[in-house]
Every structure is written in structure tokens, then in C-alpha cells.
Symmetry: C2
């Protein structure tokens, strides 16, 4: 079974300082400017990247030119999920990005020797899995406001966990990227943001910086099922 299959995207508690140092030896620094493609779906997966700075989107391009965004990746996340030696998704720098490029060959040998790293990978994958399930959960929602509210909470949680404890949420990506992630049109994303703003749930400092005024109301919106609060019977 090829070790390429274990490369991954995103993850909490990514690497200890020693591990990062070890990997630095076999890796090289890379830099991508905003909008640059890092690799394409189906390309030969000969390297994994560890993001140091900036934001990356991982996506699939459909025959109709539309794209489905699988995940947004932030500093300390790994990108390069592969299957059968080929990248599963395409990735692009959403902002300017710096990171380490780690050849899979080198990574493989390291993994052989270091069972602790193997365990680390397992933890990362569990995290990823829960993230993907959260994404699916978000996508299963019907109301546009709900999806956007959940998306906001997701970003806020991430930024809070990173200790970027500004009372503000930063939106590094375009409205259309958010749209491709939450599965709706970018116009609807825009309208949802504005609706939240006019309801006094959030305020915009500029188009990329949101402040959450009413966390309680936001949670309300995020968990509303339809129009009213009435539960509905299930299963016929």
C-alpha cells in the first residue's frame, strides 16, 4: 500500500517543533502569490506542502467550469492529499502563501522510522474527518442564512483557536469562493451577509472584516431549521 495515500490536508496540533525542524532539513521553502495554482488534480503527487503563512483553497473543477471547494487551508495545515500517487484535488493560493515543500519520498522514509509521527498523522486524519463531516453538515442545510452563519462560526472558531483573538473575523477569500464552499450562488452569499448585518448580528469594517455583534442571534440563525421554530415530524 503506497505511503502517498496517507498524505493529508488540514489538521490540528500539526507538528511538534522538533518534528518541524526535522522535516525542514528535507524540505525547501516555497512562495506563491495570490491566485497561483499550487498543483492540479490528477498531477503526480511528489510533494506535500506545509503552509506557514496565508490561505489556500482545495477544490475540484467540474466539466462545466464551476468549482466545488473541498476545504480552506490555513497556516500549519498540510496540503497534498493523494490517491494512487495522484493529487485528489487542485489547490490555489487565496492570499500570498509561504510554506515548506516536502518531497513524499523523504516523508515516507521518515514515517518508517518514526512511529510517533505515524500516530500524529492518525490524529490529523481524525481531525480532517470531523472537518469534512462538519462541511457536509453545513451543506445539508437549506436556508442560505444558516449556511453563512455556520461558515462564519467555522472561521471564528479557527481564528479563536489560533489565538488571533481579535473581536473580528477575517474573510480572506472572495464571496464566490465562499459560495463554492457552502454550495450556493455568490449573490446569495452577499445577500446573506447583508441580511445578517441589517439584523444587527454582524457589522462590516470592510468587505473582508466582520465583527460578530450578537453571538446568541448568530447561533439562533445557525440552528434554525426553516422559517419558524416548530419541530417537524420525521420518517413518514
Amino acid at each position: 500500500m503506497p505511503a502517498e495515500r496517507i498524505s493529508t490536508e488540514t489538521g490540528t496540533s500539526p507538528l511538534t517543533d522538533e518534528e518541524r525542524l526535522d522535516l525542514a532539513v528535507i524540505s525547501s521553502v516555497v512562495r506563491f502569490k495570490k491566485g497561483t495554482q499550487i498543483y492540479r488534480e490528477r498531477d503526480r503527487a511528489d510533494a506535500v506542502f506545509n503552509i506557514n503563512n496565508g490561505v489556500v483553497k482545495s477544490y475540484k473543477t467540474l466539466p462545466d467550469e464551476t468549482q466545488h471547494i473541498v476545504a480552506f487551508l490555513f497556516p500549519d495545515d498540510l496540503i497534498g492529499l493523494a490517491e494512487e500517487g495522484k493529487y485528489v484535488n487542485s489547490t490555489e493560493a487565496v492570499t500570498a502563501v509561504t510554506g515548506y515543500r516536502i518531497p513524499v519520498k523523504a516523508l515516507e522514509t521518515r514515517l518508517q522510522k518514526d512511529p510517533g509521527l505515524e500516530f500524529h498523522v492518525i490524529c490529523k486524519l481524525c481531525h480532517e474527518l470531523r472537518e469534512a463531516q462538519r462541511h457536509a453538515f453545513l451543506l445539508s442545510k437549506h436556508r442560505a442564512l444558516t449556511k453563512v452563519a455556520l461558515f462564519l462560526q467555522m472561521l471564528e472558531n479557527y481564528q479563536a483557536a489560533k489565538g488571533e483573538g481579535t473581536g473580528e473575523v477575517y474573510l480572506p477569500m472572495r464571496r464566490s469562493d465562499i459560495a463554492d464552499y457552502v454550495g450556493m450562488s455568490f449573490e446569495a452569499v452577499s445577500r446573506s451577509f447583508r441580511a445578517l448585518a441589517s439584523r444587527g448580528v454582524i457589522t462590516f469594517r470592510d468587505r473582508r472584516h466582520v465583527k460578530i455583534i450578537g453571538r446568541a442571534q448568530l447561533e439562533m440563525v445557525a440552528s434554525e431549521s426553516k422559517t419558524s421554530d416548530l419541530p417537524r415530524r420525521r420518517g413518514a
Copy 2:
């Protein structure tokens, strides 16, 4: 870091015969009848289950009594994904189910001793991750027919991989379960099936057994973006 976190749900090439045998020693046979809850979200996760027979659904129950189905699990899949010692989802037998109940304590000690098993877990998790991403992809689709078509393909792929090479796809779950998985109303699921049937893409032997007449047409439907085939510009 607790070993419970590495327990998982679903997976290809689950266990070798020896591994299964080894685990059998520390596990007990269990049996659930259709509709039985196996465990509930937030319960203390003290065991993992290996499904031998039948179908299980893994889901989250929302405050409004609705449920979001995270995954359907089939024979050879493992259920019991946990975080912080608690089950992440609830699970219920969709059909009659038999399987092995494996105490996590025993599993932990086995994992300590057997690094090969650890690697196996990594592979399972990668598989899971791709599954979850596929689910999210399905959910991102807007047209009801597309979602149902993708769901059908998913079941067919699974059953083909299992060597259940009947020209028929078996639907073990209710329409409302499918609805909760693909993120739409059960009425819409029903209508979609009938629409596919009236278009001559599928035929029903009974409500649970579908035959795919036009695989090509099904793939068409599964990949259609909206009404026509026209690509649409992106990003502003």
C-alpha cells in the same frame, strides 16, 4: 492523546483474516434488530463495532428532531468514531445487524503492540475522508435528480465492489433516510426516483430493488449542472 480518537467508521480492506481472528478473541458477538439504536451521540465510547451483516446508519439528531445522516455503514465497516471518549454520532440498525463488539481497552493494547494495525487505521481513515468529501460533493449539488443519481451510483459502486454483482441495486434504507443523507425532503426523493423511472433510466422491481437501465443517462443526470448543459462563467 486518547486512543479512542482513532476509532473509525467505514473503510475499505478493513482487516486481514488474522487480524479479524485476533480481534475475535477479545470481542463478543452482538445482534441488533431493525430500528434498534446501537449507541447514542455523547455516550461514553467504550466499544467499537465491526459489522458482519446488515446496514447501519450513523447520524446526528438536531434540536428540531430532524436528523442529519453522516454515513451508511455496511458489512466489514467499523463503527464507533469517538472524540474525547464520547461517540461523535448516534447509530441505528437500518436492517437486522450482526457484528462484533470490541472493547476499546483491548483495542488500545493491540494497537500499541501492532504497528501494522496502526498503518491499517491510517488507510481506513484516508478512505473515510474521501468518502466524506464525496458526501459533501453530493450535498453541494442543487438539483434533486442529480443528488439521487449520485446516491444510486454510490450504492452501486459499493455493491459492485462487494461482488454483489446482481444487475440490481438494493436500497436497504427508507426514503426518509435517503432524504436525510442527501439533504432533501423524502417527498423529493420519492419524486426523483419516479422521475428517473419514467425517463427510462431505472426500473423498480419493488420499492427496495432498482435496476439501472441507462447507465450513460444516469451519469448524464449525475453530472448535469442546472437545466441545460451550458457552462457558466465564474468568480464575479
